[in-house]
Symmetry: C3
């Protein structure tokens, strides 16, 4: 995953434009079934309108000596996203009104956008800014804002045994920023490749689109798929340091909320589960009251809570392969939790069935594992009255989900449990 | 308010009699619409009967030398309330059985009553009592217990846009005690004068009556008004020191309980919310199971928890103007919380509406206020699905009520929210 | 109770056999109405089958010199329960595979069973085991496993005013172990003798049977009684040291769970209430999902949590008369809580009834008792709206159950309360 991330890092993405197309083309090498959609600028989408397409080729500020003192070619964060085309001389004072820097982090270039308000500007380190002492500067922004353009997003569907869907969503609109958002994207790619090889009860739908407007466009165009979504996750910030942080869906106790909480519990501390908040990533759109989809957001250290966030310090070096691998393992466990979740009914509910004569009592191993195995059998038999899902049993029994999955299958094989419904 | 309190302090009030009439006459100067009711002694009221009217003109104990050693004219707490008329000589031993003092607070005169059990007596400081060494004393109690009398209470109705009512109740039966109960009375007067000038969705009803029997009489005589009460507060002990203490209504999670808890939260610590208890002030009657009205009780340090309680130390000096003003501000905020509480529906519930093109995104100011404003808009849009009241939004969003009121009005003006019901 | 326990201690009980019969014969001396049932081996019972009857007369291991180095006559724990009959010479290596000892508690003999898996064996202290150095040993097990035998259990029914039942269950299958299980048995006997002399609303049913298979057999044979069970307790480990530990029924908030929690609260700390767990004693069978009976389990220090558990150190000396007496008092209080639990309706629900003229206000005594009495009256009047049981009132009012029982009866006598239903 890290190699893919490093390959995608230099591309200058935005909410529209060729950077997104190049990114999705690379993703398509890994996920051949990926479908890339183009939605024309001006298309209505819920309360919004697809914006004009922005592309940027070059941007610079030259000093009186003609030297490039700010240079898009050196770092694509140097240009304010959606900057209008511009060429000419400006006074330093005029220029200052269009510069963005971070006095508290003087070596870093900030990431700034102005998607919906016409503007132009440059981002630079505060040290660099302090050296701009000339009275006049020549500026050039070689961008286009094309009303005949389009918004681009990618979609991958992995059909399952049922039409019920799990939505995985990540944004792909940030330029050279590695943890935000490429880490989420490469974990999603890793997950999709793994799921493609696994048996699937659920149909899995991956959406790779620009933040906010991407999910709004997708929601506006897919009412039938929206109605089939049973669970969902927004994946973001999964490669940096820090503990896992799960933000609950708007429903707060949805099956996805239970599943992630238990997978995190099984993984052990430290981790954090935070309540729903109508601010953050695309879960805001999926969780708007009209849709109210059970979509949570999984990250490591959340946005705004690490100093590299939205700066030039968010590089591929900041993202570590071990963190990406750990994140992938966690979302795999979440998918397994959803796939295995069932409501069972004990078919021998009067008294305990005699496990000994069915060879179930001795357990799969000695010591604590054997004791846990026995307790998993007893809890499943005791709580499976046709109302408790495996997730509910796992929560009450305080036993690991994979152990309960194995125990449920063993009891099913012995004719003692029968699944009566999908988990709830 | 403190001037009114000081003016009312010298009057010798009881549960009936001219002291109440004089008090309500003064209150009527501030609240011209106040209606004073007289209910004849002997009138049945729920499980009770209106007691005989008690009036007291003088009361004294003279020593052998003919000196007044206990003198009602020095302090009206000196006489046991509802003392029967009495004149004659008694031995010290007989007298002792009718004296009330506080050995642990030897300088203070206690407040004692015997409304429903015929008796007579004197209250005095323990130091004073220790000086009563004569063998015989002459006593005089110039009181009347009039079966042809009446019970007096005052009532003020401020009509609102709806017939739904908010009940504010305070007792007016204590003689020269300032925090209990005059502080509640003067805060109620201040609130009524403020509400009279404000637009009102609710009709506000103020009841100024004697404790227990007053609310019982009022409840017995006003079945139609009882049915219109949506929220209520008993106001008491609002001028002494100490943090605010709110005692929940019997319903515990009624709208008034939510409103007061949030107003106290917004005001910041220290404060305390206590659960319902069938002991205290007139909320006991409003919260009896047959009525079960959502009436809580607001005070500062509760009864029995400060040393001056029910003693001669509860003087106008013990009540501070700043505390009265703070109490008034708090109950005003509670009324505002009730007035503004609505259940809204988001009229653009699919995805977030684009706030930027409606000029709502920039917020009302910079810094934290701007961020809070934006969060208020997002929370209101997200939770307004036709079931959550503003109070519920304020609780979940952890944002101040006045900010949410402004944000709700801005969204309503922008056509994004519509009120669908009164708050619940 | 301790004398009975000491008398029963030497008997070698198992899940079937003469030891159980002898035990129940002794119990029958204390409870003449006890009925002893014999259920033939091979009888189906729910998912199980009644096992063959096991009896043991002697068991020994002799060394080369012919000396008994392990001797059943010295302690009946020395033989593995349900050991098959055996006689002959074995090598030390063969013998070692059939020995059970506790290396961490080298002076104690463990208690081991093999009811459902054919086997033979000896239990001994680890020190004793370390002295077995001979190459060959002669072993003798004089036992019978009789397919024409039966399983024995005892049952006592104390009819009450209603057919609704309280089930008290304890196991009687352990050989010379005092706390487990004789303590539970003698407390049950004490309780039955006390209940027999008390007025009873409920019918009380005591079951004295072998663990697991005993309750399964009883459940399989008594569908009508099962349907009448309203509350139940498994009694065990009630004579050793340690705080009371109550394990909730599967329903977790059943009336028995409320009652025990409040009785323990009234008794004061230390004590512990633990959540339901499908492991432990016969509550596992009563709480299987098909029956889902509200049966909890009361013990002092639970099984496995004290070092003497299931060893030769669990002697009559380990069980203290004071602990037995305290346990009996506690279960008596639980029965009283169930017997008195009612849902009342306040017959004067509008306002507080005037307690003074009914002589109820002064209370039964001075000081805190008087204040608590008054609060008990007020809470009962306030909460008795036809939905709250006495247990619910006791929980919310935080007042002792016996005080509430007295107060409820006083209010009932005064015509202010009427019971509308059994507690719930």
């Amino acid at each position: 995953m890290h190699a893919l991330l490093a390959r995608l890092y230099p591309i200058c993405r935005s909410i529209t434009g060729d950077g997104v197309r190049q990114t999705l083309a690379v993703v398509g090498e890994y996920l051949p079934a990926l479908v890339v959609h183009e939605v024309p600028s001006g298309t209505p989408a819920l309360d919004w309108t697809v914006p004009v397409e922005w592309n940027i080729r070059d941007a610079w500020v030259k000093n009186a000596a003609g030297e490039r003192v700010i240079d898009f070619r050196a770092h694509n964060l140097h240009v304010l996203q959606y900057s209008q085309p511009k060429h000419g001389w400006v006074t330093r004072q005029e220029l200052e009104e269009h510069l963005f820097s971070l006095p508290d982090q003087p070596d870093l270039i900030p990431y700034r956008t102005s998607y919906y308000q016409p503007n132009w500007g440059f981002c630079l380190s505060h040290r660099q800014r302090e050296q701009l002492l000339d009275e006049h500067y020549e500026i050039g922004i070689d961008s286009t804002l094309d009303e005949a353009g389009s918004l681009t997003y990618g979609e991958l569907v992995l059909p399952g045994a049922t039409e019920e869907e799990v939505l995985l969503s990540c944004h792909c609109c940030h330029p050279s920023l590695a943890n935000d958002n490429l880490s989420g994207l490469v974990v999603a790619v890793g997950l999709a490749r793994w799921l493609a090889r696994e048996p699937r009860r659920y149909t899995y739908r991956f959406v790779f689109g620009p933040g906010t407007i991407g999910s709004i466009v997708w929601l506006s165009r897919n009412p039938a798929a929206v109605a089939r979504i049973r669970h969902g996750l927004v994946l973001t910030l999964l490669g940096g340091p820090g503990q896992f942080t799960y933000k609950q869906s708007r429903r707060r106790t949805a099956e996805i909320d239970q599943a992630v909480a238990l997978v995190l519990r099984d993984a052990g501390p430290p981790h954090e589960v935070r309540p729903w908040l109508p601010y953050g990533y695309d879960e805001r759109q999926y969780g708007s009251p009209g849709f109210n989809l059970p979509v949570g957001c999984l990250s490591r250290t959340p946005f705004g809570e690490f100093p590299e966030y939205h700066t030039s310090a968010d590089t591929p070096d900041f993202v570590r392969p071990a963190e990406l691998a750990g994140s992938l393992a966690l979302v795999q466990a979440v998918c397994a939790a959803l796939e295995h979740n069932r409501i069972y009914r004990n078919l021998s509910p009067f008294g305990e069935p005699q496990l000994g004569r069915r060879g179930l009592y001795k357990g799969v191993g000695g010591g604590q594992e054997g004791a846990d195995w026995q307790m998993a059998l007893l809890w499943l038999l005791n709580l499976s009255d046709g109302s408790a899902s495996l997730l509910a049993v796992a929560a009450q029994a305080n036993l690991p989900l994979p152990l309960l999955h194995r125990a449920a299958h063993a009891l099913e094989a012995a004719g003692l449990l029968a699944a009566v419904a999908a988990g709830g």
